[in-house]
Amino acid sequence: MPQQPFNRRHPAAQSGPVAEPSANFDYVNLFEYAPVGYMLLNDIGRIAKINRTGASLLGWDPSWLEGKPFSRWVANSDKQLFAEHQRRLAACDDDVTQELRVKNRQGRIATVQLTSVRAVAGPDGARCYRSIMVDVSGEQRSAREISRLRSQLTHATRLNTAGELASRLAHELNQPLGTVVLNCEGALRILNERGGDDTELTEVLQQARAAAAFASEVVHHLRGFLSNGGELRTVCDLSELIQHVATLIRADARDDDVELQLDVPRDLPDVHVDCVQIEQVLLNLAHNSIEAMREREGGLKRVVISARQRGGDRITVSVADTGPGLDANQFKRMFSPFYTTKRDGMGLGLTISRSIIEAHGGELRAVPEARHGATLQFTLPAFAMGAA
């Protein structure tokens, strides 16, 4: 609703309907049933006169309301605002507008826009205020509704576009990945047939193959994630998962002259997880460890990934390194978003890793007072038959 021009210096406002409501029957009706509430408040905020529209906003008869303080209908939390409104009015000659929540007779809260101006009431010269009350609850509701729908739409569009993008990406990437996998396997077979006993070459090819398969899984997963908005949880063998991650980082470890050691019992209970996500967490932790030791000259460089069953229902996985360790500041801030000690890091790896682990019902933390280097540890609930 457009805001009403309201100025006491305007002649119509000065000799308006409030002053002489009964002078003309038409004017009375105009006053009483105007689309907005009109109200005359005396200098201490009591209602001197109120039209029907205004009175019905408060849920009472106009005559009953006369003489009552308007603040009685102002919601408790907004009483302060109303007092401020009056103070501002007393201090200036212009109209003052304030949004207030009022509580009607039935206890329903409505938001009104109260526009008031100081006026002279009558021959005695007592000060009073004219106010217009406009119910803006509806507008507020629709504004809220519009913003809710808009955000839903934005979300849906984003998901849709992302889903489509991921689908195309999956198709485009699986072509070359398919080529890599077939070629690696072919090369391995030919190498084997020719009796070449080249373990180095065999390992190179096996790793390339595993990496391509992993990339395809990530793509596949991304696609599933974006088109369904969910994750793909399956029951899987954690020790196998760790072995798989070890295959993927072994080459990096060797390049950095880091010894990679696994301490993972074969008989760990199964976990019900999104394998790709957990693999990403482990990869992230292991890469952090390898990078932390990069600057180290000489001395032992080792990453140990270990897993243990704790109690009946939890498994703890630790990634420990022999790097410089964590100082108090790093220890405190390492999980905060955008905190990084790497020159080209985003500072999101650990934040995302933690939220992944927490979404799986586990915890990710740094072990305090690790003896050498840093140890990061996460827990996962063991999969119980019938619980998933």
């Binding site: 198709h171 990945l177 398919g178 996998v181 077939l182 072919g186 077979r189 596949h220």
Partner: protein, 216 residues
């Protein structure tokens, strides 16, 4: 000796097609690659045994359309479909209309070789069956009308006497036609004659399959 089976590989991605060809060639297969469905259809000699590996998505004709075209031309080539992303609906459609397998990229050699072996096996079984059927049909067409009639009746387990009654001829004459039919069909035994009748569609087989025991 039958010609060596040819594996036809259709994929518009050159690198992938070459990897596919290399894998099959170096595992002792005879491979022919094509960049699109129409090139394959143009070059195909249906009399040569083999199978087809094709991508589901291609620029000129998708895999399912290619499958339909082959069926319309009455070419029964066993097909293995491959796809860049698991499009479940297409995969189901492909398998329903008789594809041997559906491989999702990236797949390993073992999966590929297993599918190809199955496809070639199916092709050779199809061809053997088609050859036998053609032979049987040709022998059947050499029978006289009477012999064909009697052939149809004896394989439906009717005794000579009953056949004689139905055709209003003597049991001896039935016996005579029966011997002629066996001879012309080159059947060594009565059971072989029955097999032939199934092959040329005179008799349908209704097998009473044993009930599966629960849990098996």
């Amino acid at each position: 000796m039958a010609p060596r089976p040819v594996i036809h590989a259709v994929d518009d991605d050159r690198c992938f097609r070459e990897a596919l060809e290399r894998t099959l060639r170096t595992t002792g297969h005879c491979v022919q690659g094509y960049s699109c469905a129409s090139a394959f259809l143009e070059a195909l000699d249906p009399s040569v045994p083999g199978c087809l590996i094709t991508d589901l998505r291609m620029p000129d004709m998708n895999g399912l359309e290619l499958q339909r075209t082959l069926r319309e031309r009455e070419i029964r080539l066993a097909i293995v479909f491959i796809s860049g992303h698991g499009d479940t609906t297409q995969a189901i459609a492909a398998l329903k209309s008789g594809a041997i397998d559906f491989l999702e990229k990236p797949f390993g050699e073992q999966a590929l070789l297993r599918s190809v072996a199955r496809a070639l096996e199916k092709d050779s079984a199809d061809r053997r069956l088609a050859g036998e059927r053609a032979l049987v049909m040709q022998r059947f067409s050499n029978l006289t009308r009477r012999e064909q009639q009697i052939f149809a009746l004896i394989v439906s387990d009717l005794p000579n006497k009953e056949i004689a009654r139905q055709l209003r001829i003597s049991p001896r004459t039935v016996e005579h036609h029966r011997e002629r039919a066996m001879l012309k069909m080159q059947a060594q035994s009565f059971s072989e004659l029955i097999t032939m009748s199934v092959l040329c569609g005179i008799r349908e087989i209704h097998l009473a399959l044993p009930q599966q025991s629960p849990g098996s």
